[in-house]
Amino acid sequence: MSALTRPWNNLTLVGKVILPLLFLVLVVGPIVTVLAAVYVAPLVVDILASNLGIVRFVVAITAILLFSIPAAFIIIYMELKVIAYMNTRVGPNRVGPGGSLHSVVAGLKVLLKEDFTPTSADAIVFTWAPVFVFLTAVMTFLVLPFGPGLYAQDLNIGLLYLFAVGGMTVVGLLIAGWSSFNKYSLLGGLRSAAQVVSYEIPLTLSVVGLILLAGTMSLNQIAENQSGGFWNWYVFRQPLGALIFFIAATAEANRTPFDLTEADSEIVAGFATEYSGMRFGFLFFAEYVNVFIISGLLTTLFFGAWNAPVPFPHIELSLDPGSLGIMLLILLAVVPLILTLLFALPFWLTQSRMPGWQALILGFLAFNVVAVGAVLGLAYVGFDWFAGLVWFMIKSFLFVFLFVWMRGTLPRVRIDHLMGFAWKWLLPASLLNLFITAIAIVVLKSTVIP
């Protein structure tokens, strides 16, 4: 017995944990996998196949939740860097190449910080307010079409859903401000309530004209209506509507110059004054997710959604790598080697001082760039959804850049100017837009179109 126990006793604590785990993974794991593949898998596949809608929804939700965090990270980094260059600063440049991992580290920092609740705050509401704000922000992603077929749910009342859920953000901000037991927070919450409720009306009215034109409220359908080239985009048929939507959406997302709710020179940080740790992180992420959402909405509604400005001639790729048989394997093994050597050759020839291994590494890198480029190019040509996603992202991030640019250059408006602008200018203008659109549709339908 001692022959068996002695090696066991010699193990460190970590070893005693790892060894059984290793046994489980190497022996029990395969057995379970095989049994599951044989007996359980057909059942699961049956269940999944009979509930395809739910499966699709769950997968889409997961993808959206996973997407929202990196999107916020990218926008935060973009904002830091773009505003830094506008301010003649360098901006984040420590973590990752060009500081590109800065927002990831900032997110980690937020996770590790003390999560502080003020003594007199309404603890339950205080805790759940940021979750509520973040949830409403992420929920609006549900109906946003990222590409042909790339949407979580194609609601036929997509736009209505969007405004309904987006309008709920204000409840989160208000309860965040109220429950903090801080006068700055309270002022920020009240400001956000006044602002978001005022701008909700022109925001909604500005797209009614578009709904009349499109004849649908499904965002997917609106996107498809704009296919075929940039002259079909709704911005050319609804320029006033697009402008009003842009302004009102900026105010809805609390972005500069309408960032009164967190005016740092007046009310410190508004509703977020007392928040710290991940609860602040949620509020912060929600803000940037909102920026992406209004950019995506602008793209979807007025700037052709996923459609390319000039339609790309459709090419039917008749690639069938399987027909090559064993040659495919040989090619996969040989082509990288040949290409690496081929790309290494000029490096090696022109810079004769460079050691051969360095030239090989450079050649390998060059091959990788070419390979990734080729794969992406093939994907762009071959898959509609990929091309759509690329165009959607390009357009959306152009608008994100616009919002960041505005933040870098504009001062903040005053509360009375803000409210006056909404009620005296935007609301009449959006009604005028609706009126003109309606008349134009009636006249055109009765004369031009039989």
Partner: protein, 413 residues
């Protein structure tokens, strides 16, 4: 053990947690003593629908450590009460216990963005006490460096103004402009912020080659740079609309409250010490005194902002003339190392970027002044906040405060 204090019940001496039942009252920014004046008792009683908002001393836009208690009704400021003293160091008393040379370094940090002007008026007062003739080259260098710093100070004002209105970018461009000037001055004074450069009877060291080459380089593009910074902000509709018609300061109020400097000239009074009571070599130099807000309503925050921009142009003119007219000669009068002026009193005042900087010194014949009083414009202007901000919105409070351009180092002394 529960102790009763004016700010609420304290649980015990070693556990200073405020009792939770009493907390609502205890968080109000009410002074922990019974009201001393009628104004105080009136201010600290709340009307219907009003609440106190304590702003500062740690607040992003109170220009240092000013604390303002606002009485607000919604977004409207009903009344307000500035509370000073968070930066008080007793500089006047320190000066009375230092000898005359050391005083220059004591008064230096009063206004940290334009410290040469803080040195200038004590130095002039002591020169009057000692009856010293300052060499003309030294006077020219004083005017030259002073006007350079006036440009830097006004550039910074422009940046702060935009920052307090929510614009992030202009402050950094302001700092670039200020940094160039400060680096330039550092090449002759050795310091970037608290120069300690003026001396009784002259200045500490002549201008050198590096300073002149930097200055020439800067002068060749200063006017254009100024135009750029004007173009960045002055045509911004949001910026202009936020400053128009707030914090109106009319002629009567300005004179009654002893306002000086750009704030007075923006209220329609063409009073500039450089012309009204000429000192140094200013009578020999050509420059205009810009005036705004000459109407019966006086000037608003926008007038005060624009006037400072015009002053920068005049300062550039003065710098140009100083460079061309500067005579050769010594930069320091011959003086003994230990100064013992005859008993007497002297008052000297100069025109700084914020107004009148004055020093009143009494000598009793020893090497230290018997009494030294420093008049600082920021302190005088801060009295105005109550009159100018009453009835405005919370956001305007920042704009009005920024347009008065106070520096808290000088206010609290």
């Amino acid at each position: 053990m529960v102790t009763e204090t004016p700010i609420g019940k304290i649980r015990s001496d070693d556990d200073p947690r405020v009792l939770l039942d009493e907390q609502i009252g205890s968080f109000e920014p009410v002074p922990p003593y019974p009201p001393r004046t009628e104004r105080e008792s009136e201010f600290y009683t709340l009307g219907d629908g009003e609440m106190f908002l304590n702003m500062g001393p740690q607040h992003p836009s109170t220009h240092g450590v000013l604390r303002v208690v606002l009485k607000i009704s919604g977004e409207n400021v009903v009344d307000l009460d500035p509370v000073l003293g968070y930066l008080h160091r007793g500089v006047e008393k320190l000066c009375e216990n230092s000898d005359y040379h050391h005083i220059i370094s004591q008064v230096d940090p009063l206004e940290y963005v334009s410290s040469l002007f803080c040195e200038w008026s004590p130095v002039m007062a002591f020169e009057k006490l000692l009856d010293v003739e300052v060499p003309r080259r030294a006077e020219y260098i004083r005017v030259l460096t002073g006007e350079l710093l006036r440009v830097a100070s006004h550039a910074l004002f422009q940046g702060w103004m935009a920052l307090d209105l929510g614009g992030l970018t202009p402050i950094l461009y302001s700092f670039i402009e200020r940094d160039e000037i400060v680096e330039m001055l550092a090449s002759i004074t050795g310091q970037r912020m608290l120069f300690n450069y003026f001396r009784i009877g002259g200045v500490n060291g002549d201008v050198n080659h590096e300073f002149m080459s930097r200055l020439g380089d800067w002068m060749s593009r200063a006017a254009k740079q100024h135009e750029t910074s004007i173009g960045l902000l002055n045509e911004n509709e949001i910026f202009v609309r936020r400053m128009r018609d707030i914090g109106r300061l009319d002629r009567d109020l300005a004179l009654r409250m002893a306002v000086t400097g750009p704030n007075l000239r923006a209220a329609g009074v063409p009073y500039d010490l450089r012309r009204a009571h000429p000192y140094s070599v200013y009578p020999e130099l050509e420059f205009d005194i810009p005036v705004r807000g000459t109407g019966p309503e006086g000037g608003d925050a926008l007038d005060r902002y624009l006037l400072r921009l015009e002053e920068v142009k005049q300062s550039l003119r003065i710098i140009d003339q100083c460079l061309h007219n500067m005579p050769d000669g010594p930069v320091m009068a011959k003086l003994p190392r230990l100064l013992r002026p005859r008993p007497g009193r002297a008052w000297a005042a100069i025109e700084g970027p914020r107004g009148l900087y004055g020093t009143y010194a009494i000598s009793d014949g020893t090497d230290q002044p018997f009494r030294m009083k420093i008049h600082d414009p920021s302190f005088v202007h801060l009295q105005l906040v109550v009159q100018l901000m009453r009835g405005n919105l919370i956001a305007d409070t920042m704009a009005v405060m920024a347009s008065l351009d106070p520096i808290m180092g000088g206010v609290d002394k």
